[in-house]
Assembly symmetry: C2
Homo-oligomer: 256 residues x 2
């Protein structure tokens, strides 16, 4: 039974892409079959997995707006069990084009249907907005994983995001539930980090993953080499924290 | 002669809002009259300047899509010379509505015309995307200031942003030029920071501000108190770096 998880937060720079890549890699290394869908015109998940955004081949734009076969747009990555549906700048145009399509928020869900069963997990990396692309991600997903940077401005947008998820549940995707809230870039030396953690836990309690991701420069460095953290530095705190997240996620799905 | 500066970068979390608020405050403390325009539905510049996003009164959405008088939407802040055109979640709806308007990318420029001459500087805080709101910011602006986090993923989007600026210059705003590239969250202890700085300087040389903004938790903390850094902790490195940026900016405009 495939589990499709949208990784979303309209606040920018909170660790959506870093989580999509490294959670996917942790699951793939544990022999689960994983698909990452890059839904951000920036294409950071695409380059972070070592795929050339300016190269030939099909991208998610061709599948969403051009009706291309999703199977022909899939890319292999350096990890056996990890495939990618890549994105690039062509997706910028899609935001206007998708708005004019019928059933515009269901295009991704429809495109993934023929390929979804080949995977145990599908992780969708959403852009930093609540526009039509993120809406497509939320409608196509079973659950939503929300990375929250342990800083004040990242807390601000949580209510808007929860409101959007509620509306998607009442409208196009009645089965949508929260997978969990993941604290990222947590710096144990800072009072701010522990204050935010206390705040998030008091409001959202059991939704907050026990695992939190520490601030760790190796996670920022690995992106420039197009590698998940496990290939770049498997012994660092960043790699360990994403593996612990994968174990916790599997435990929540009774798959561990 | 008013100078309108769009603070833009589609990469999320690179310090756009933190720069808009604290550069504006530094200029206002030096007796320049400054207007901050919050163009992000997240409304982080609005709350970062202590204004209630859920309160009464008019917001930038009412001015852009509802034809309200911009003068009646302006808010005072705790700093005498600093006014704000606030934003809130209502702006999310505008992205669809603005797309259907005639001259859709000129709406902000037109709205600012009657009030712009009351200020020496207008700083526009753009959302993390290259959509219709950022386009309005670029068309309304004289120059663009691009905050770049000293990390790899923030470099990736620079070419797309420069391409977008070039197209706006060839289309709706022939006078648009680059104000400069500002390195943010620079951590002198990390090799990654100095590598990125060397990379940016080799490609963009004289466009890069001499001033860079160090990573400084006080800058993250002050946002939760709705205060610019100068009111929260005037002696920290964050406050000093934004004041040095203001001086450098004034020097570039021969206003120092
Ligand atoms: N735990 C971490 N420790 C240190 N740096 C991190 C960590 N997680 C992410 N980063 C870095 O922080 C920046 C923001 O992360 P990332 O790009 O994954 O966020 P995002 O939410 O996907 O951003 P966007 O909103 O632009 O899509 C990147 O430069 C990334 O390399
Ligand atoms: N120099 C700095 N040192 C430490 N933290 C910083 C610094 N500048 C910004 N921050 C923090 O980093 C986070 C991102 O900054 P900010 O929100 O200003 O970026 P942004 O580009 O406006 O984000 P968005 O793309 O969501 O609009 C915030 O939590 C902010 O408080
Ligand atoms: Mg991302
Ligand atoms: Mg911002």
């Amino acid at each position: 039974m495939t589990r499709t998880i949208a990784i979303a937060n309209q606040k920018g720079g909170v660790g959506k892409t870093t989580t999509a890549i490294n959670l996917a890699a942790s699951l793939a290394l544990a022999e689960w079959r994983v698909l990452v869908v890059d839904l951000d015109p920036q294409g950071n998940a695409t380059s972070g997995l070592g795929i050339d955004k300016n190269g030939n081949g099909l991208f998610v734009y061709d599948v969403l707006a051009g009706g291309a076969d999703p199977l022909s747009a899939l890319r292999r990555t350096e990890l056996e069990n990890l495939h990618l549906l890549p994105a690039n700048r062509s997706l910028v145009g899609a935001t206007v084009e998708l708005l004019e399509a019928r059933d515009r928020e269901r295009l991704l869900g429809r495109a993934l249907k023929p390929i979804r069963d080949n995977y145990d997990f599908v992780l969708i990396d959403c852009p930093p907005s609540l526009g039509i692309l993120t809406l497509n991600g939320l409608v196509a997903a079973d659950t939503v994983l929300i990375p929250v940077q342990a800083e004040y401005l990242a807390l601000e947008g949580l209510t808007d995001l929860m409101e959007t998820i509620r509306r998607v549940r009442e409208g196009s995707n009645p089965g949508l539930v929260l997978e969990g809230i993941l604290l990222t870039m947590y710096d144990e030396r800072l009072i701010l980090s522990s204050q935010i953690r206390a705040d998030v836990c008091s409001h959202l309690g059991s939704w907050v993953f026990d695992t939190f991701i520490p601030r760790n420069v190796r996670l920022a460095e690995c992106a420039s080499f197009g590698q998940p953290i496990h290939s770049y530095d498997a012994r660092c705190k960043g790699a360990a924290s994403y593996q612990s997240l994968a174990r916790e996620l599997l435990g929540r799905c009774n798959l561990g």
